[in-house]
Symmetry: C2
Subunit: 210 residues, 2 copies
């Protein structure tokens, strides 16, 4: 790991543990195993560190959504599984999402994070409607604007209640609700099957390799 | 307002503005217009203040759910509207819900908050299933455990994106998704009508008085 990333990971761990306000540069430098001077060389302020974590989290989470799949609805399910996986394993993603719910100094970065997310998901919902997978009175815009908060709440409450150990089944229930409400009857069983397969623990990655 | 409540409101405003870690007893005492000594008499620590805010928020939000209605599903919709209204107008409810998503020292109070909430909502979903309003593969437990996080995420993202000015339409969309997925076909149109009426701005309170 190069030094800049080492510092970002240490900052993420500290922000995730105590929040932005209580985090200190000294603790972050200690966590990264660098001097405070070396830290300031890369990130002149605590705010710069937080924005660095949020940016890096954006990159890592948007990466998982960009796969091409023939079924747009299935692609969304797969992306949510991948992000849930990152939330369980990647301190930068965990801290970035935590910081994005804090107030004040991050506000601009945070709003743009949600706008980007919702915009990206709206595009995929639009494809899913065009492909006939979904048939619903709700527009692609309404679906994107409700699924992103739904996922946000599911992962937060899972964190509070179980330290995210029930995150996969909780996200699976989210998709059962959303797809039962919106899937075209001709696609419903297939899409609910994708949810079961994706979150069963066997996972879509195993397909074809066993 | 008695002095204890005055202090709790000032604490709520400060916690809501800057979060727990950055809030100071001095600022809270100033906001309440009392001396720090008077404040310590009621709340010996900052943690005691936060737990006081969380407790008071619990009381205020549970109050709105306890109305009896002939339609359990409609009662849930009405309760969510009342809580959305409190989130827009009551600093104690706003701060209590914000604190309940922080980590560390509140963890016990926070977990019990979600368990109580989910338990209460599960009971109403059970009634709605028994009354034949809902017919779904999801159990009352799964419904309660997914609707509470859904609402949590909707109000948080509405706060970040619009300062909660789109909270009512966002909660209405949540119910359209949940009820389309779960309502018995014989009750679906009526329940979607309840959602429209409740969140249209005319509001259920106006019924019969106009």
């Amino acid at each position: 790991m190069e030094r800049r990333e080492q510092i970002l990971v240490a900052a993420a761990e500290e922000f995730d543990r105590v929040g932005f306000a209580a985090a200190t540069i000294a603790a972050i430098a200690r966590g990264a195993g660098v001097s405070q001077g070396a830290l300031y060389f890369h990130f002149p302020t605590k705010l710069a560190l937080a924005l660095g974590v949020i940016d890096e989290q954006n990159v890592r989470t948007f990466d998982v959504v960009s796969h091409t799949e023939q079924s747009p609805a299935a692609a969304l399910v797969g992306a949510s599984h991948a992000i849930a996986d990152l939330l369980r394993t990647d301190p930068i993603v965990r801290a970035g999402i935590r910081l994005s719910l804090e107030r004040g100094e991050f506000h601009a970065a945070t709003v743009s994070f949600y706008e980007q997310w919702i915009g990206g998901i709206v595009d995929v919902f639009r494809l899913a409607i065009a492909a006939g997978e979904l048939r619903t009175d709700l527009s692609a815009e309404q679906l994107g604007a409700t699924v992103v908060p739904y996922f946000t709440g599911v992962q937060l409450v899972s964190d509070v209640r179980t330290g995210r150990s029930d995150l996969f089944p909780a996200v699976a229930t989210m998709w059962r609700v959303v797809l039962t409400a919106t899937a075209d009857p001709a696609h419903r069983d297939r899409l609910l099957g994708v949810v079961d397969e994706t979150f069963s623990g066997r996972g879509v990655r195993g397909r074809g390799t066993t």
